[in-house]
């Protein structure tokens, strides 16, 4: 035991006297977004349920679509070296591959966006942070989906 004076909880004074005492206790660290009796009661609607179901169903479909896509693009017929403008133009000449790529685009984008939405809900503490992050997310998602859809439907193999 050293001779320095220690307080009841074993925390010695570091520099000068402690800032806190019985009448002036340190602030308690509040947990983020605490539930209180003022927390709004249940909101009607099944959005979260449909979101949860969509993640499961799109996930199953995406396993087939994405693994098939990777197999065709990277493994079969000489691997990645074959991929070029001509290869893409050839595939998109068939409605089957157009539909395949369209489904993959929509499902992957919505699946990823919904996943990020839940991540933002889990981690962003302030309402304004949530609003901005989600705004950014939705803008990027809509832009990518629309651009991708436009390209798949208006693709011109004879472009110069």
């Amino acid at each position: 035991m050293s001779t320095t004076e220690t307080t009841a909880s074993g925390i010695g004074p570091v520099e000068g006297a402690s800032l806190y005492d019985v009448d002036n206790p340190a602030p308690v660290i509040e947990s983020p977004r605490k539930r209180t009796n003022k927390t709004p009661k249940s909101t009607r609607g099944n959005f979260e349920m449909y979101g949860w179901l969509f993640m499961r169903l799109s996930g199953i479909v995406l396993v087939v679509l994405v693994l098939g896509h990777l197999l065709i693009q990277l493994v079969l017929d000489g691997g990645v070296t074959k991929v070029g403008f001509a290869f893409v133009a050839g595939r998109w000449a068939s409605p089957w591959w157009q539909v395949w790529d369209l489904a993959m685009l929509w499902l992957a984008m919505l699946h990823g966006a919904n996943g990020l939405r839940t991540v933002i809900n889990d981690y962003a503490e302030q309402a304004s942070t949530r609003l901005w992050l989600k705004g950014l997310l939705y803008t990027a998602t809509v832009f990518t989906i629309l651009l991708g859809t436009l390209v798949i439907f208006t693709f011109d193999p004879n472009i110069r």
Binding site: T7, A8, S9, G10, I11, S18, L19, Y20, D21, V22, P25, A26, P27, V28, I29, E30, S31, P32, R33, K34, R35, T36, N37, T39, K41, S42, T43, R44, N46, F47, E48, M49, G51, W52, L53, T118, N121, D122, Y123, E125
Partner: protein
Amino acid sequence: MATPVLDKAEAEAQAASPYITVTFRVRRFNPEVSAEATWEDFQLEIDPKERVLDGLHKIKWDMDGSLTFRRSCAHGICGSDAMRINGKNRLACKTLIKDINPEKPITIEPIKGLSVLKDLVVDMEPFFQAYRDVMPFLITKDTNEPTRERLQSAEDRERFDDTTKCILCAACTSSCPVFWNDGQYFGPAAIVNAHRFIFDSRDDAGEQRLEILNDKDGVWRCRTTFNCTDACPRGIEVTKAIQEVKRALITRRF
């Protein structure tokens, strides 16, 4: 000339002594002294077959009376002394020292996700608010006082038997990573207690409770990490109960 005999007796007593030296590394916070929480080590002689709670009692009664923690029954029923022992949520009164490697310092912290008030005591109010919000009491269509017992078959009772075991210690809710980051989430304990009434054949407000848990902060925020099932000192299959509520919500709609 009795010295050798005494020595021998003493040596035997030493060999037979069940006591070992254990280090308790306790997370201390006292807002009346400092805004910082710090670790404090306590060395104690204790029988490894005793519980962590006995060690905390030894510290509080014989070494440092300022150590603050909750405990009431000390036998795993009241649910007061849930704490984070060696990084896992457990009841101090149900954890034997020999089971958690007493060779290394045993770390003891308050449960996470709730405000620490002092040492191991946290503010349980948000936890009980979520509990109250799921209406954890019997609601019947018939508002008249019953004239006889509400009978139930053994099968109907079995349906929700697991979730009747909850002692509201908050070990599950404070082990949930979603709850750590967002206290608006109902948390596993509230859902378990809703499950207890949703699947009770005598209760008529299951629909209402399902609607409450269909909320954006309800069951759909569960990420099935199974932390709650691992943490439950009563062995309730918490994640399974949450999944059953999800399934009830989906089958109700389709």
